[in-house]
């Protein structure tokens, strides 16, 4: 694949996933009341009919048949016969990705979970970007002992298995969403710091920076107006790949029950739930995993495409 094709495919994929998660819950018809007895663990594509009674109680089941003056819900011992004059509405819903063991629509939960995963990853990347750029720029501009100290710290932190530390910290602190963002961000900035430092060191000697410095421009203005715009390219490429790692890390923590509180669905915790009922419903674990993988692959395509474009232009 050519660089631009990769980049386009990746950008399109990420945008499509993000858009689906953002607007999906509004566009999809309102979910029927979950019925853990009759509508649980239905395979993908099942049509679930929700019968709402006049008094407000609702029943959802894949098997609803009309039988003369009554409506029959379910087939086996759980079947229920209702007189038609008690029924307020009958509504069909297609569960494209099946239902979970509480009778909830997997597609809807997948989109809701994607919002959480995407938001956490985006904020965590932001934290990592800020930390990495700051440390990299400070190290490069200060030089000497500060540089050596900061970079040795980066080396030491880079050497340690990040997931190991993350799991340890998350087990001990049981993070909220905000703490999770911080945890993921704080463990992913080291590579960025190295990258920024290298770039700034090479930018420092370029004529336009020398000109700015000799005309008395203040250091923070040089950092913001001269370094930062030139860092965007290399940073974007690195950030795309890093975001993929962060998404996998977040999913792993959620899978282990260490992510955001269990009441909020995320892709990782949905896989965990799916594994608990793996024998009764393969689709529960499969779809969130596919969602994670496609997002990470699209991000990798963006990173790859940017890298090739960068290599081609120099």
């Amino acid at each position: 694949m050519r660089a631009t094709t990769r980049l386009r495919a990746g950008l399109f994929g990420v945008a499509a996933l993000a858009l689906a998660c953002a607007v999906g819950p509004f566009v999809l018809p309102t979910p029927p009341a979950p019925d853990p007895v009759r509508a649980a663990l239905q395979p993908p594509g099942t049509r679930i009919t929700t019968v709402t009674l006049i008094d407000g109680t609702a029943f959802s089941s894949p098997n609803v048949t009309a039988d003369g003056d009554s409506i029959v819900i379910g087939t086996d011992i759980r079947r229920r016969v209702l007189a038609r004059d008690r029924v307020a509405s009958v509504e069909d819903n297609r569960f494209w990705l099946g239902s979970d063991r509480f009778g909830r629509d997997v597609l809807r939960r997948l989109l809701a979970g994607g919002r959480v995963s995407l938001a956490i990853a985006a904020f965590a990347v932001f934290v990592a970007l800020i930390l990495g750029s700051a440390v990299g720029m400070i190290a490069a501009s200060a030089g000497g002992i500060v540089d050596a100290l900061l970079m040795r710290t980066v080396d030491a932190l880079l050497a340690f298995p990040v997931l190991f530390l993350m799991i340890l910290a998350a087990t001990l602190f049981r993070p909220s969403a905000a703490l999770l963002v911080l945890l993921l961000g704080v463990t992913s900035w080291m590579g960025l710091a190295r990258l920024v430092r290298g770039q700034v060191l090479s930018l420092r000697t370029r004529p336009f920076v020398l000109a700015a410095r000799s005309s008395g421009t203040r250091p923070h203005r040089i950092a913001l107006l001269h370094y930062l715009p030139n860092l965007v390219g290399p940073l974007a490429q690195d950030t795309a790949l890093r975001m993929g790692d962060i998404i996998i890390a977040e999913a792993t923590l959620s899978y282990l029950g260490l992510g955001v509180p269990p009441s909020i669905p995320t892709w990782g915790s949905m896989v965990a739930e799916g594994h608990q009922v793996m024998l009764d419903g393969w689709w529960l674990a499969v779809f969130p995993g596919v969602a994670i993988a496609s997002l990470v692959i699209c991000l990798a395509l963006i990173g790859d495409g940017l890298q090739r474009l960068g290599a081609a232009s120099t």
């Binding site: 087990t171 602190f173 899978y255 995993g289 994670i292």
Partner: protein, 322 residues
């Protein structure tokens, strides 16, 4: 060479100390202690106090720290709260299963990665290259916990070819030596596959790039000009320099070899280091958490050293420089 090793060994000490101290602070900064994780219905508050007192959990932090550090200096990692035995014994028991699993996985990773890279680099951008690149990218995006679940579902549940978890079958200790080994290997297949195949995707991607890069170098051009077959050029001339990074990869894999994988070991109930860390972190078993971190930190530093040394051994140019 000797001086390099010595210098690196000396810098090793503060680094390991830093990591272990940081872990000590983090573990103690977290709310709750081992005494709070116990939930026996007949355990009274006085009982909890007694446990706190016995394990020294109520002492000031710096006292606990100094006490622990002093013990470590004499090779004593303390006694596990959870497993009720010396931490060194917990670790020496968890290490062989982890080494067996990660060693097999690493072997699989390198063989598969190298094989795929060789096949792909034979004709860059040919169909083999395209297919393996796309497959590799696909596997790279898969989270390991998901792969583990799918592998169990397909190969253990649907096909029934391999056992889904644990190291031995029930009653395996009754078996003879050979049958016991076969049983163990049978259990090893799925977790090793999980770790190895995901790793192989990254290895293949990396090696493919180096192989193609050496393929354009001047000594390969010279070999081709002398009329050597493409096969010989790939296997002899391109492969050797491309293998250099493999030495680094092996060195950098030491921490993985020793620490294992929390996720895969937990899913497959493999009694290794990752699982020990997982259990001990949940139970606030501080001595074990610190012990496992210490071993992990040592592995990182020694692995980095090994990577450098291996590189110097296989690459004469590096050796000359030093």
């Amino acid at each position: 060479m000797m001086r390099l090793v010595l210098r690196r060994l000396i810098t090793l000490v503060p680094l390991v100390w830093l990591v272990v101290t940081a872990t000590f602070v983090v573990v103690h900064a977290a709310p709750g202690s081992y005494a709070d994780t116990l939930d026996h219905p007949r355990l009274t508050n006085e009982g909890r106090e007694l446990i706190r007192d016995r394990y020294g959990l109520d002492r000031p932090l710096h006292q606990q720290y100094v006490r622990w550090l002093r013990a470590v200096a004499t090779g004593d990692l303390g006694t596990s709260y959870l497993f009720k035995e010396p931490v060194t014994r917990v670790i020496t028991r968890a290490l062989p299963p982890t080494l067996m699993l990660t060693g097999t996985a690493l072997l699989l990773d390198l063989m598969l990665g190298l094989g795929i890279a060789m096949a792909a680099a034979r004709r860059p951008y040919g169909w083999v290259d395209r297919v393996t690149t796309v497959l590799g990218l696909g596997i790279y995006g898969l989270p390991s916990f998901w792969v583990a679940g799918m592998v169990i579902l397909v190969f253990a549940v649907w096909l029934g070819w391999f056992p889904p978890s644990h190291m031995h079958s029930v009653g395996a200790d009754q078996l003879s030596g050979g049958a016991r080994l076969a049983d163990l290997l049978h259990h090893l297949v799925l977790p090793a596959l999980c770790l190895g195949v995901v790793g192989a995707a990254a290895t293949a991607r990396y090696l493919r790039a180096t192989l193609i890069e050496t393929g354009t170098s001047r000594f390969v051009l010279a070999a081709r000009a002398r009329g050597l077959s493409e096969r010989r050029i790939l296997w002899v001339h391109s492969l050797r320099p491309a293998l250099l990074p493999v030495a680094t990869l092996i060195g950098l894999s030491v921490p993985f070899l020793v620490s294992g994988s929390v996720v895969v070991e937990s899913i497959f109930s493999w009694p290794g280091m990752g699982r020990v860390l997982w259990l001990s972190a949940q139970a606030r078993d501080v001595p074990v958490v610190l012990g496992v971190t210490l071993v992990g930190a040592l592995a990182v530093v020694l692995g980095n050293l090994l990577a450098d040394l291996l590189y110097a051994v296989v690459d004469p140019r590096v050796r000359e420089q030093r």
